[in-house]
Amino acid sequence: MVLDCKHVWDQISNYIEGEVPLEMRAAIEAHLAHCRHCAAVLDSTRNILILIADDRTFELPVGYSARLHARVQQELAAAG
């Protein structure tokens, strides 16, 4: 199986998930071995995903948890 760049991009997300069949995986890796551009697209995508998964990327508003539980408590008390 020989892939062009477009085919590799189409599979990048599944490849990152580890969800491509063995034959496809081998074909992607064969392509990546000689295509710097696709290798860089894969690396940059994967690295951006690592960055957005960082807990500090999205922080909760200050006091969110306390306000949420106060509201729940209010509801529990009202329901008796």
Binding site: V41, I52, V72
Partner: protein, 224 residues
């Protein structure tokens, strides 16, 4: 949750939740606080992915949690409690967004369709490893948030649930009420959009050194 409670109920979240739900429904209603505590951030982020505003997201998250409390007896164990709770938050946020759009006289009749057209990522020659230490964290965070905020809603939702909250594909699909295939298709597009937006921006910061310097292309930042 206190550590005692966590260790007493075991490490498996599904069993933990099942036990807490049974006890809440049996009358120990205060335990609802413990039930929701591990999912507070997910609920907020699910709402935020749709509403894109902190205050609105917090309001929707609160409302979703109260609805979960009210309807806890309707929860069926075929799905995870976390998925059920997050789907309530998504529905609550979507309802608020719809209401806001109606107020602004925008059309709500035509939901966006999945874009099946071809997509070209940002083509670069090389890419360095992610740095482990967080320098210039604030600026990086703003870049990431802005990129995610700029995605169309359907892509933002899957990215937030799968890649920020790290829910699995099946749970993401269940929370959004779509098939796993749809999640995978949207995820591909969302991830490539993020790459296209962010790769050039991160690399362009490289000349300033610091965190961004580590994103510099080994080939000298060549783009074509």
């Amino acid at each position: 949750m206190t550590e005692e409670t966590q260790s007493a109920t075991g490490p498996d979240p599904v069993s933990r939740d099942a036990e807490l739900i049974a006890r809440v429904l049996a009358g120990e209603r205060e335990l609802f606080h413990e039930l929701i505590r591990p999912y507070e951030k997910s609920v907020y982020l699910a709402a935020f992915s749709i509403l894109q505003n902190q205050q609105d997201a917090e309001d929707a998250a609160q409302e979703a949690v109260l609805k979960a409390l009210k309807n806890l007896g309707d929860f069926r164990a075929e799905s995870k409690f976390s998925t059920w709770l997050i789907s309530i938050a998504i529905n609550e946020a979507r309802a608020r967004l719809r209401h806001a759009r109606v107020l602004r006289f925008e059309s709500v009749d035509e939901p966006a369709k999945d874009d099946d057209g071809s997509f070209v990522p940002a083509l670069i020659r090389d890419w360095r490893e992610v740095p482990s230490q967080a320098l210039e964290r604030k600026e990086l965070r703003e870049l990431l948030q802005s990129a995610i905020g700029g995605l169309p809603e359907m892509y933002r939702e899957v990215l937030l649930l799968r890649d920020v909250e790290e829910m699995n594909i099946a749970d993401t699909a269940a929370a959004l009420g779509v098939s796993e295939g749809v999640v995978k298709t949207r995820l591909l597009r969302a991830r490539l959009m993020m790459q296209k937006i962010l790769a050039p921006q991160l690399a362009s910061k490289s000349s300033r050194g610091g965190l961004f310097g580590l994103f510099r292309s080994k080939a000298g930042g060549s783009w074509f």
